[in-house]
Symmetry: C2
């Protein structure tokens, strides 16, 4: 057994930081989404880059799969041990290594969570803006190219990772990028590794771009009589150059779920939640101009708040929307969709998706990062019902088909994992073969998170 | 002769759009920098992606090098035909294919220049912000990951290319990315191709991110008594979250050259040129706050102008600084350097470079994109003097060594070409081997711009 041999050698390397305990393996075999439990053979808890490199060399020697693990919050089955092997939990590599205030960057270990980083930064006047909702690790967020509510202003992980330290399949350690703000020195290896889902290397250190904590913040929620007018409001605001820090869409079904969870009494129509960051004068001006755009589109119930507690309540409601939606059908699991389309096609994509949902007989509230054209239908299914699963899969499939037809992508921010593998050929054509060629060049034995992202077969 | 056989077949494909005329070859063998004339065997002028694909298949069949050509304005010898072969001039593929105002993007052909695109966009209220100074083509700018004066606000080509159509070495045509604003659907092939300098594929179409033309613009130039105070001003401004659209540094020697060319009478001390974009109120506020920072640092001679003609004069002076510097030593050629460092190390990098310049006996005015930590010393040499060349090379070498020691990069925006090849091992370590492995995977016969960017040898 090649995996058993690897585990024996890894125990020699890590001692009791290599666990085969069923409870530990189970804790690393699941996810927050609907995928089945898929256990690794063992879980490693390295403490240094050198240990990760040694571990990877052992696994390569024995042809044993290696799967990175952050907080387990990914939604496409990225961390499922579909071919067994060793899951590498970065929980013990969770330190802030350096904060360089003048350069507005920080060097961190991959197991650090975004909330822990921001707690550490609080006194510096700086913050790390990427916010996928879950308190994910920064290594995991980089690996899935995460984004979330603030991407419309601050970008995704693609834009906020300056440099990486990475362990390659053969155990070599490379550093990609530098602390300089830009570089034209060859292929963008940082960009290639961000979003690679652990299939090209294991991230052992990140240099992140920080941003100044905004002097003033103002947030609001407002109601619209249709999806079209909500989306038109967003397009007009973007075109006027008003820099929104967040702009979130909730459909009537999502509003109903949020009402039920939070005791709010929002009208059951589409809503936008918006936030501006800047100087007090700039935020005031932006809020005024945005208010005019909303009024012109017939938006209603529009209230601003610069109070931190009001904003916290607003965004807590948004961040908990996923759980609110899950709770709206007791016992249900979610098929989470993640299409992203050009914003000019967003209203039609959402409207047609709602029609599909109605026809399916399932409940699937919609919410999304409307400034990016990215939205999620949270398709609620009974995991014991083959019929539910079939209808849910068909619904998700139609959403992706439509997104691709409209010039968009199957996944705006969640990644491929196993859930979006079936769509990669349609989205990328021969580009998917190029991805396989890159994977083959860097991981010829296919030991790094096999079964994910690229075309299967060959040595896999 | 394999190249002759390729040229014969290419003549069959392109007719008189394949030229072997010496004047045409010479026009495609030089550059604006100090590199020696290095002619291709022939120059092709394709009109369609299908022709580029057919051309590449022919060249692959005959093992004939293929070199992309935009406007010939790159500064590191990217387009030198160091192994002969066919240069592909995209001059006949220079159309705007689509402008999607609601999505703020445009699809263009690679031979379109940035000025032509912006002329086309004028009535839309949108513009393409990346501005390397030269009127480069957008295909060339993408290939070298260009940036320039506006990168501090709008990012580089890395940030402003949404999607590409690319012809691979084997003639396959792929589309990378989509018109959606973000995606997590696999490896970032767009990011890999941007900055690949034509070594992984030939770009035949680009989807570019556009921005709203700012409602108000304000610009100023001000003098400082030292490099330190100028850089401190920039750091403080960035940390306060004031969004500068441009922030340029000129040292005293550059100011002298600009004075001589333009008839201005700026004091011979370091200067900053700055520009703000936004709403009238925002620009006014930003200018005020910036003025306070400048005053606190002892900056002087500070004058704002919101007049378009004043601003045009200011930025013309900046854009022509390279020519002004060249003219300051008649007959000279330039070794252009392009280091980029963390901004906290910028003042020491510039100061130590000036000491090196003084010790070298050469003239090498310094200017740069100070908001990014990127600066250029324009090292003036007599191209007929081996001693000048040796001293200039040594100076450039010390600058790169220092930049790497300070956590920076050999090239912030010009690219590798042949000029920065000697530094790639030191900058990337094993990462440079990874680049070679990627190149080997996508261009195993090394026909795409051979001799550039990656490690030499093998089939090259």
């Amino acid at each position: 057994m090649t995996i058993d041999a690897a585990v024996t050698d890894l125990t020699g390397l890590l001692g009791d930081r290599l666990s085969r305990a069923p409870a530990v393996r189970e804790a690393h075999g699941g996810s927050e989404s609907h995928f089945a439990l898929t256990l690794p053979d063992a879980v490693a808890f390295p403490e240094t880059t050198a240990e990760v490199a040694a571990l990877t060399r052992i696994c390569t020697h024995h042809r044993c799969p290696v799967i990175g693990w952050g907080a387990g919050t990914s939604l496409e089955g990225h961390t499922m041990a579909v071919r067994g092997g060793v899951t590498v939990d970065f929980a013990r590599m969770n330190r802030v290594l350096a904060v360089n205030a003048a350069d507005m960057d920080a060097q961190v270990q991959p197991g650090l969570t975004r909330e822990a980083l921001n707690a550490d930064l609080r006194a510096t006047g700086l913050f790390f803006p990427v916010d996928p909702g879950a308190n994910a690790t920064l290594g995991g967020m980089a690996s899935t190219r995460a984004s979330g509510t603030t991407a419309v202003r601050y970008g995704t992980m693609r834009d906020n990772v300056l440099a990486l330290e990475v362990v390659l399949a053969d155990g070599r350690v490379i550093r990609t990028g530098t602390r300089a703000r830009k570089s034209a020195a060859g292929y963008d290896l940082t960009g290639l590794l961000v979003g690679a889902e652990g299939t090209l290397g294991l991230i052992t250190e990140l240099t992140l771009r920080l941003h100044g904590q905004p002097e003033a913040v103002s947030a609001a929620i407002c109601a619209f009589d249709s999806i079209d007018t909500a989306v038109e409001t967003v397009i007009a605001t973007i075109q006027m150059g008003i820099p929104m820090a967040r702009i979130e869409f909730l459909d009537a079904a999502t509003v109903a779920a949020c009402n039920a969870r939070s005791g709010a009494a929002m009208p059951l129509v589409p809503h936008l939640m918006v936030e501006f960051h800047g100087s007090p004068a700039a935020v005031t001006e932006q809020a005024e101009v945005f208010g005019e755009v909303v009024a012109a589109q017939g938006g209603a119930g529009f209230q601003w708040s610069a109070q931190a507690e009001d904003r916290a309540r607003l965004w807590r409601m948004r961040h908990e929307a996923y759980w609110a939606i899950l709770a709206s059908r007791p016992g249900a699991r979610a098929i989470v969709t993640d299409v992203c389309v050009p914003i000019s096609r967003l209203a039609e994509a959402v409207t047609q998706t709602q029609a599909d949902i109605a026809a399916s007989g399932l409940s699937a509230p919609i919410l999304g990062h409307v400034g990016d054209g990215n939205f999620h239908a949270i398709i609620l299914i009974d995991p014991a019902s083959p019929d539910d699963i079939a209808r849910g899969d068909a619904l998700a499939h139609r959403m992706v088909d439509r997104a691709l037809r409209l010039g968009g992508t199957a996944t705006g921010e969640h990644g491929v994992g196993v859930g979006k593998l079936p769509y990669m050929q349609a989205e990328h054509g021969d580009g998917w073969s190029v991805m396989a060629a890159l994977k083959g060049a860097l991981d010829p034995l296919n030991i790094l998170n096999p079964g994910k992202l690229v075309r299967q077969g060959g040595t896999g």
